[in-house]
Each structure stands twice: as C-alpha cells, then as structure tokens.
Amino acid sequence: DAGVTQSPTHLIKTRGQQVTLRCSPKSGHDTVSWYQQALGQGPQFIFQYYEEEERQRGNFPDRFSGHQFPNYSSELNVNALLLGDSALYLCASIRTGTLGQYFGPGTRLTVT
C-alpha cells in the first residue's frame, strides 16, 4: 500500500515566478490538506480539498491556490513567489470519517 507521495522532491525558483507542487494521497483517502513548514517551525495549514473543492483555508494570501482531481490527487500553486515562500511544503491525506492524517515526504522549495 503506497503512502502519500509528493513531487518534486526539491525545487529552486526565482522571485516572481510561479510553481506547482503535486500530491497523491494514500489509497482509500479522499481528502488532501496542504501545509507550509518554515525552518525550525511547526507546519502551518494552507487549505484542504475535498470532492474537488476547497473546503477550508488558513491565513494564506490568494497567491496560494490549489486543485483536486477526480482521482483525489492534488496540486498546490503559488504565484508571484517571494523569498519568504521558501519552505518545506507538506501534503497530508485523510479518509473521510476518520481522524488520522498521514503526511508525505514534502517538497523543499527554495526561492532566490
């Protein structure tokens, strides 16, 4: 049973560029949450997708957007990148009706 997968593993972008990160949830999981983790900090909730719609959102600007596909996989898009967007981006998958959230390995984004 494959766990949560994310791609790419690492990414380097320049200020002002746009980036797309991808996540595939665990088998049987239908909900995906995205988190941003700055160095030395705990993860911060960005948003959650369920049934291909954004269901809940944290305190992140509209530059952060997402999408969920019919197969439950998800994308996180960040526009107009800032140096402060450099972080580890984590995807967590959930099966509706349960509490457990399982995280992927993350994508390390560096903005120069």
Binding site: V4, T31, Q56, L99
Partner: protein, 115 residues
C-alpha cells in the same frame, strides 16, 4: 484562535535517561490531539491520536497522555534512534460539531539522545 505551545524547545538526553515532553493547548472544542515524529528534511510520521482527557496510548518506548489543557509524551529509556523533532497538533471542533481536519501545530521539541 487555537494555540499549541511545546516545551522544552530542545532536550538532550543520555541513552536510557527517561524524560517527558509537554504540549499545552487552547482550543474551543477538542476533536483530537496528535503526536508526530519528524526526522530532518522529511514529512511528519504519525504516532498517536488522543481524544479525551484521561486517555493514554503507548508505542514501544513512547507513552502519550492527555488532560484538558495539556498532553505529555513520556520517553522511557530512550535510544539514539529516538532522536528527532516531536510535533504536537490539535484538531478543533467546528460549528455544529463538524471538523474538517485542519491541524494547528506547535513549534516542536528537538530531542537528541546521546549514546
């Protein structure tokens, strides 16, 4: 607003020296409290979920407990491979008792176990 504070920020132990990590939380209604382990550069690994005050869960050398205001992660006779950052998170009940899964994390405790 939900808040989670973990202490200490860093803890250095000798192998076999038992200790506890603390997680204090403020939440309007608790749906669940979670403990995760995170190795450098990797995603958090799920350890425990606690639902109500008085609950305890164990896994190998780890034991998690929960009160109405805090949770403790007790580490008994730790080994060097227990070295990691331990994260605590809460999930709150929303309006009408719904809960969509947003986790609010603390900043973590960095545990180092020396042989």
């Amino acid at each position: 607003e939900d808040q989670v504070t973990q202490s200490p920020e860093a803890l250095r132990l000798q192998e076999g020296e038992s200790s506890s990590l603390n997680c204090s939380y403020t939440v309007s209604g608790l749906r669940g409290l979670f403990w995760y382990r995170q190795d450098p550069g990797k995603g958090p690994e799920f350890l425990f979920t606690l639902y109500s005050a008085g609950e305890e869960k164990e896994k190998e050398r780890l034991k998690a407990t929960l009160t109405k205001k805090e949770s403790f992660l007790h580490i008994t006779a730790p080994k060097p491979e227990d070295s990691a950052t331990y994260l605590c998170a809460v999930q709150a009940l929303g309006a009408g008792g719904t809960s969509y899964g947003k986790l609010t994390f603390g900043q973590g405790t960095i545990l180092t176990v020396h042989p």
